[in-house]
């Protein structure tokens, strides 16, 4: 069940010039609604006159012990800039949880690769944590322009082996995620990815060529976030235009028209 909730900012960490990590909890200590990896929230940004619509942000992590929801926010415009300035104690209004979720692997699918790029690494942390909790040993492949853009590496390391690529070679292997040698060295059973569309398409192509099951998380521009405005559609193979906010954001690549 979707809810509209006021949450309180318990921490807002500036991770670098462009990213912050918002940690939210309930003001009355009630338990946060159940959220699954791949789902997102729509956050209302007040006090930003140029920000009219809510901002969809994926669930980065849910700390059940501390009753915290983590949101990784990339500053791209006025709305996200305002979020990056939220002080501890700020009350924010959210719709949650929204969207579908990444699917759980079959028991025999032991080699799991979670590929994230830029702010698209956000849902991979929670997915990795849940996979680990379910007895899997996921591997993370994270890509960025430069080492300073690689975020939450210590958090990722708690749940699996972390591999990195940077475009300038300042961390991990130089190049894009799809250039990383583990893609050739390991035969993966399942790939999950989120990031810039060209990156996801390259990962999807790799998975398709190697007959690996692959799920991608899309971030089409949306207004409502719960399937009524019909703005965020993706053209799918069998069902035509479908809402990314309700039929997705997670799609199996076999349902998309990305691979001819």
């Amino acid at each position: 069940m979707k809810k509209m909730l006021d949450l309180v900012v318990v921490e807002n960490n500036k991770l670098n010039q462009n990213y912050c990590l918002l940690k939210l909890s309930t003001p009355d200590k009630s338990v946060l609604p159940e959220m699954y990896p791949g789902q997102f929230v729509e956050i209302r940004v007040v006090d930003s006159p140029t920000t009219f619509l809510r901002r969809p942000i994926s669930v980065n992590f849910v700390d059940k012990l501390k009753n915290e929801l983590w949101l990784l926010v990339q500053v791209v415009g006025d709305g996200t800039r305002k979020m990056s300035e939220y002080k501890t104690g700020t009350i924010v209004n959210l719709l949650l949880p929204l969207g579908n979720q990444f699917s759980t692997p079959e028991k025999h699918q032991q080699e799991l690769l979670l590929v994230g790029g830029g702010v698209g690494t956000a849902p991979m942390l929670y997915l990795g944590a849940i996979l680990k909790e379910s007895g899997f040993n996921p591997k993370f492949l994270l890509g960025a322009r430069s080492s300073k853009d690689l975020l939450q590496l210590d958090d990722f390391a708690q749940y699996g082996q972390v591999y990195t690529t940077t475009e300038d070679g300042s961390h991990g292997q130089k190049g894009f995620v799809t250039n990383h040698s583990i893609l050739e060295n390991i035969k993966f059973d399942r790939v999950y990815t989120c990031g810039p569309k060209p990156m996801m398409m390259a990962v999807a192509n790799y998975a398709h060529k190697n007959q690996i099951e692959c799920e991608v998380s899309l971030e089409n521009t949306m207004a409502c976030g719960f399937g009524v405005c019909l703005c965020c559609v993706e053209d799918t193979k069998h069902n035509g235009n479908v809402c990314v906010c309700t039929e997705g954001p997670v799609f199996n690549i076999k349902d998309l028209k990305w691979i001819s």
Partner: protein
């Protein structure tokens, strides 16, 4: 709460607050957020005779205090609505109104005819004002003769409450309003979206796949209010006012300008509970001003 009751033709509303087509899905999408039975009515997503895929992505651009959309009437067609959606929403204790659109006069009439005998659909809203379809839609709503032609054809086959949704993209909305009234429409709803566009300066390309789209949200409210006022002074049939309503104060402005009922549209995306907040706000306003019947407020702008 009898003081909130209004009538649109033979359609009785428990209060004047409805939700606008295209911003409220089929109602059930909001059931997690609000008690739908508190609404005066729900106008469901634009419905056409046949399935429509709508326009390609991208379909949306945020603007200052609003948004542009270019959805293009994506829907699965009227038969699917009747067989698959209607059973799920027919027992919601409010007026379910179907917004009907088409590319030809015959399509409009056929779509309306198929809805005519559906028990729990007491009214249709004829959309002659969608700016996002290549054929039909707004083209019908921007000339008096074509607007009259569509209404005439639908009126012949549809005998329940017929609301006609007008386009603001005209020189004089009262001309269209009078033409539609003369053909027997029971009510007018206005305004649909204003034609607009947005450009990505880095790419030097339009943001919307269709280049232009429909502008909605608080930014259009003054234009909408003016058109409701002009139309109120030109016709006798009840008006359903909409365009950027985001608070009970906005709703009361429309009522004072001449709207018997109002619709809340784009703001449903920002606050999915806004519609019931507006119902409560209007009730408080009546209480505070000692008004025993909201009908006494309609068009009572003091000029």
């Amino acid at each position: 709460m009898d003081k909130l009751k209004v009538n649109i033709g033979s359609l009785a509303l428990k209060n004047p607050v409805m939700t606008a087509s295209g911003t409220f899905g089929y109602g059930k999408e909001f059931a997690d957020f609000i008690d739908l039975s508190r609404l005066g009515g729900i106008c469901v997503k634009g419905t056409t005779l046949h399935n429509r895929q709508g326009n390609p992505y991208p379909r949306m651009a945020e603007t200052a205090a609003g948004m542009l959309n270019a959805v293009g009437l994506q829907n699965k067609g009227v038969d699917y609505f009747i067989s698959d959606i209607y059973p799920e929403i027919k027992d919601i204790d409010t007026n379910i109104i179907v917004n009907v659109s088409g590319s030809t006069v015959e399509d409009y009439a056929e779509c309306a005819a198929r809805l005519a005998d559906i028990e729990k659909i007491p009214a249709i809203e004829l959309n002659i004002s969608c700016p996002n379809v290549k054929e039909g839609g707004m083209a019908f709503g921007t000339s008096t003769s074509s607007a009259a032609q569509v209404v005439r054809a639908v009126r012949k086959v549809y005998h329940k409450t017929l609301i006609v949704k007008l386009s603001p993209n005209v020189t004089d909305i009262t001309e269209i309003a009078k033409a539609v009234e003369a053909e027997g429409a029971d009510s007018l709803s206005l305004i649909n979206t204003l034609l607009g566009m947005a450009i990505d300066v880095e790419k030097r390309k339009p943001i919307l796949s269709t280049i232009t789209g429909g502008l909605s949200g608080p930014c259009v409210k003054p234009v909408a209010l003016r058109m409701v006022w002009q139309t109120y002074n030109a016709v006798k049939i009840p008006i359903i006012g909409m365009g950027g309503i985001s608070s009970w104060q906005d709703a009361v402005e429309f009522i004072l300008a001449g709207a018997t009922a109002i619709q809340i549209g784009t703001y449903n995306f920002v606050d999915p509970t806004i519609s019931v907040k507006v119902v409560d706000g209007i009730a408080d306003y009546l209480e505070r001003h000692n008004i025993s019947d909201i009908k006494n407020l309609v068009g009572k702008l003091q000029v």
